[in-house]
């Protein structure tokens, strides 16, 4: 039996490793199924499919809802969409929702905004422990270099916060900010020429005591101004690699996943952020306690294999019908 997986973003996908890993985990969960990559719905191999999984985002230049409409009109292949970008692309995803048999939504709150609840499942992306987990040890603590790290897309609001951090942390603080596509002026040394591989990214988090969580505020297809609740997978990846998650007390959604003060640290002001991350560098027991708690919580609850199993169960059921 042939199941197709279509990375709708293709070369534009900022995190292709997520798709690669989903494909591998689906293959493990469905050992009797052949999983093939699809990159065009008009491709001959689509005719032999028994199921098609679309992900992670409808917004791109090599796929359109018209093509999907045509595909649905000419085949009986069941189709599911797994969104990675809700609520930022909610309006587009909602249009796609009408055209698919099931939608797996990355955000708990937004999954309540799709009306037909029979067709929707909350399915957070989670982190892959085989790729990211580095258990903390005294030897690794010796290797740590950075007090605070942020790596990600350089959205305007993120740059403003990072500038405030850089301006207000004590001068001897070791900060590591690396941005792709900066939307505002920032120090040259923050700019990355290209995206990092997951291995390089993991090494950065291994060498950091803390990673600040800065969710994106950019909503380019979310006219209802829906806010996210479920944190992006990066916070779980960074934590598995050994960086304590540090979260603004306004990013409340995170606290449904990581308990404040136990599995993550919170801050209300830049000064508090500086104080708490400084404490992590000075107090090994404190660092070890928080990071161990946080890693265990993720390993128990938020692995990509759990989410992929949910999708695999749906595919299995569809194949059996």
């Amino acid at each position: 039996m042939l199941v197709g997986i279509f990375d709708l973003c293709g070369d534009l996908n900022p995190n292709p490793y997520l798709i690669t890993r989903v494909r591998q985990l689906l293959g493990r969960a469905l050992p009797d199924v052949d999983i093939v990559e699809v990159d065009d719905l008009e491709d001959e191999k689509c005719k032999g499919l028994k199921f098609l999984l679309l992900l992670p985002s409808v917004y791109n230049n090599r796929f359109s809802l018209d093509k999907l409409t045509k595909f649905r009109g000419t085949t009986t292949v069941p189709v599911a969409l797994w969104t990675f970008e809700d609520p930022y692309e909610f309006d587009l995803n909602m249009a796609a929702f009408e055209l698919v048999d099931h939608l797996f939504c990355n955000d708990e709150f937004v999954s309540n905004c799709y009306i037909n609840r029979d067709k929707i499942s909350f399915c957070p992306i989670g982190a892959d422990e085989t790729q990211w987990l580095v258990r903390p040890s005294n030897r690794l603590i010796e290797k740590k270099k950075f007090q605070l790290t942020f790596v990600g897309a350089g959205y305007y609001d993120r740059i403003q916060i990072l500038k405030r951090i850089a301006d207000n942390f004590p001068a001897n603080s070791l900060l590591n900010f690396q941005l792709v596509h900066a939307e505002d002026k920032c120090p040259q040394e923050w700019l990355m020429k290209q995206r990092l591989s997951p291995e390089s990214l993991r090494e950065i988090y291994v060498r950091s005591f803390a990673a600040v969580y800065l969710p994106r505020r950019l909503n380019f297809a979310n006219l209802n101004e829906l806010s996210s609740h479920t944190p992006a997978p990066r916070i779980f990846e960074a934590t598995l690699a050994g960086s304590v998650p540090v979260v603004s007390e306004d990013d409340l959604g995170v606290f449904d996943y990581l308990t404040p003060g136990v599995e993550c640290l919170t801050y209300a002001t830049i000064r508090e952020l500086a104080e708490k991350t400084s404490q992590l560098t000075l107090d090994r027991d404190f660092y070890m306690e928080i990071i161990s708690n946080a890693q265990q919580k993720i390993l128990d609850n938020y692995l990509m294999s759990f989410s992929t199993q949910k999708v695999a169960n749906y595919i299995r059921k569809a194949l059996e019908q």
Partner: protein
């Protein structure tokens, strides 16, 4: 005796809107109760219009909201729906702020449910069929089990839109919390930034102390329920519409705090008709801000002194909300009012 399935057309009067999640909850509730629902988010309500033109039968068509409903927009669809003898119903969510605008289009509807008791009375005085029907709380967005007092993250919380009375109140309240004698109180107070706010700040420096508390983005309902659940008390300061005519009605936050397992201090106008008040709600009606602040602190003190009653009151309130103030309850009211329980 089995009865036929209810067939409903549901329109959101303004889309897109941050209120969209409420609309989604209502559609889901109606579907859950067994109805067949067609929902329409198009600007010209064309989806439902076209179905009616194609002779599709509806038991009722309901518009939720009331914003953006000019006579030019509403008359054509009203004539179409009524020509087919389908009851055409409006459920307002922004009264009394939009009462005057609603009066201009009231003849287009067979019935108007209003979120404001006084507005419903106003519509009746003008000869229209109308009843009070407040919004409710969405169970899947707000329900959380109550936390014991020792697991609360904050002592007092508020998150809401910017209205002049709220700015004035919280400016005084936050100044008080900054005094050394109140440093032990852990607050979580946030106000959504909007154009009214910018105007007020331009006019007065009194609100500068609130600047760190402003949010540019809305907080998701799921996150709001986390705040209500994690705070010893949540303040519900009813907004002052500033039109000077009708007192503010109860808002949906009134029900949402209760469903989230929170304890509420409701700061209401003396003229607001509150109806039944569940046990985990304390009501303060006063004009003087210092009196209000003093009563809030007294309430927190007495709540903290009796943790057993606190938990019991929250649980009882949650049960009360689930039994009486979810969207399914509201839809039953609409069905029995409009259709006199003809269908299941």
């Amino acid at each position: 005796m089995s009865r036929r399935q209810l067939k409903v057309g549901l329109i959101l009067s303004r889309y897109p809107t941050p209120n969209y999640p409420i609309f989604a909850q209502i559609v889901r509730a109606w579907v859950d109760s067994g109805a067949s629902v067609t929902w329409d988010l198009t600007a010209n309500m064309s989806l439902i219009s076209n179905k009616i033109k194609d002779s599709e039968k509806f038991d009722l068509v309901l518009i939720l909201g009331g914003e953006n409903l000019s006579p030019q927009r509403i008359l054509p669809i009203s004539e179409l729906i009524r020509s087919k003898k389908i009851p055409f119903v409006l459920w307002t969510s922004e009264d009394p702020d939009l009462s005057n605008a609603t009066l201009e289009i009231a003849t287009s509807f067979d019935f108007i449910f209003s979120n404001c008791k006084n507005s419903a009375e106003l519509y009746r005085q003008h000869g229209h069929n109308s009843a009070f029907l407040p919004l409710a709380a969405g169970e899947s967005l707000y329900f959380r089990r109550a936390l014991p007092l020792n697991l609360k993250s904050w002592d007092v919380a508020f998150v809401g839109s910017c209205w002049p009375n709220r700015l004035k109140f919280f400016s005084g309240f936050c100044s008080m919390l900054n005094e050394p004698s109140f440093e032990y109180i852990r607050p979580y107070i946030r106000i959504f930034r909007n154009h009214e706010l910018r105007e007020m700040i331009n006019q007065s420096s009194d609100y500068f102390n609130l600047l760190p508390l402003f949010l540019d983005n809305y907080t998701s309902p799921r996150s709001l329920s986390y705040i209500y659940n994690s705070s010893v008390v949540s303040l519900n300061l009813l907004r002052d519409f500033g039109n000077g005519t009708l007192p503010p009605p109860l808002n949906n936050r009134f029900y949402e705090i209760g469903l989230a397992g929170g304890y509420q201090i409701l700061i209401a106008s003396k003229n607001t008709d509150l109806g039944e008040i569940p046990p985990a709600v304390r009501v303060i009606t006063a004009d003087d801000e210092k009196v209000i602040i003093g009563k809030i602190l007294d309430s927190i003190g007495s709540i903290l002194s009796d943790p057993d009653s606190y938990k019991r009151d929250i649980d009882d309130t949650q049960d009360y909300i689930l039994k009486n103030h979810t969207f399914i309850n509201r839809l039953r009211t609409i069905e029995t009012t409009i259709l006199h329980d003809q269908i299941s």
